[in-house]
């Protein structure tokens, strides 16, 4: 357990550890605000571009596992001998983007350098956004669009909610993306009341947002590294 990730990012004796913690914080909190300056220390610490890409994918993947674990409320797998911290729901949400990285600019580290990751990510994102049940395809598009807006992903089509349920789904997608520590029964009440009433419906809404977030987070982080 890392009690204070920023202390590790700022003060750990090993520059590679500092750089990786710094990257994980950036990818997790504000992928849209990353720049080439966030890449420099990692390269200077001897991390290869392939290792940096691996770190971006790992942080994004764990963003999904964290969201699913928090959303479902799963028990610990191990005896809690050290005293696990408790969720602080009052923690402010991650910030919304004030800029969107340009996806057309050549990227210093491109996902295409790792074809297996391209294929696995495409299969995952396709599964999340490209099917009809329990959420409809249109509802998935609303969720995907809300997530993209939260992360600064300009590559996904903008879809405006056009019903109360769409609006509630977009609101839940925002929460999944920006404040996953607040997921729980209260967060699900509105979509349940508007017709997505079963646990499987709610799980699909959360998992669609979380899965879409993995793809957006990776794309945005890699595009953001191109900025001076």
């Amino acid at each position: 357990m890392v009690a204070d990730p920023r202390a590790v990012a700022d003060r750990h004796a090993d520059p590679a550890v500092r750089a990786l913690a710094h990257l994980a914080v950036g990818v997790t909190e504000r992928p849209w605000a990353l720049t080439a300056a966030d890449l420099g220390p990692a390269r200077a610490a001897g991390l290869t571009d392939a290792a940096i890409l691996h770190a971006v994918l790992q942080a994004s993947l764990f963003g999904h596992f964290n969201r699913i674990a928090d959303a479902v409320g799963v028990d610990l797998d191990y005896p809690d001998v050290f005293g696990a911290p408790h969720i602080e729901a009052a923690t402010p949400p991650y910030l919304r983007p004030t800029s969107q990285p340009d996806h057309q600019t050549p990227k210093p580290i491109d996902l295409t350098s790792w074809p297996l990751a391209v294929d696995l990510l495409a299969a995952w994102e396709g599964y999340a956004l490209d099917r009809d049940t329990p959420l409809s395809r249109q509802q998935r598009a609303v969720v995907g669009s809300a997530v993209a807006a939260c992360l600064g992903d300009a590559s996904r089509p903008v879809v405006t909610p056009d019903s109360d349920l769409d609006d509630a789904l977009a609101e839940l997608a925002d929460l999944v993306t920006l404040a996953p520590w607040r997921l729980g029964p209260r967060a699900y009440a509105r979509i349940r009341a508007l017709g997505l009433s079963t646990d499987a419906d709610v799980f699909d809404a959360v998992a669609t947002a979380s899965s879409a977030g993995v793809a957006s987070r990776i794309r945005v982080s890699l595009a953001a590294f191109a900025r001076a």
């Binding site: 990818v27 409320g73 995952w124």
Partner: protein
């Protein structure tokens, strides 16, 4: 008490039972095996959508089998991310 249903392996049927069996047979370092002897909670947390399991865990397995980061660095990234997202699972 979880917020959303978790279908236990003993109650799983059909696609979920198949996926649980696939996940249980994945190669895994002993240190990651839960002390309760069953499937990890994060796998069971996906039980309401068994088709999502091979997507998320397939990405995880594919990237982490082939990726160049050594284990301590992967763990550093994973725990940093989890701490920020307040996932204490």
């Amino acid at each position: 008490m979880p917020h959303l249903q978790i279908i236990d392996p003993v109650d799983a049927t059909g696609v979920l039972a198949e996926m649980y069996a696939r996940m249980a047979s994945r190669p895994m370092p002993p240190v990651y095996r839960p002390s309760h002897g069953g499937l990890a909670g994060i796998i069971r947390a996906h039980s309401l959508d068994p088709h999502l399991m091979p997507k998320a865990f397939g990405f995880s397995g594919g990237v982490n089998q082939a990726g160049p980061l050594p284990w301590p660095h992967r763990e550093l990234v994973a725990v940093t991310t989890s701490r920020l997202n307040q996932c204490f699972y």
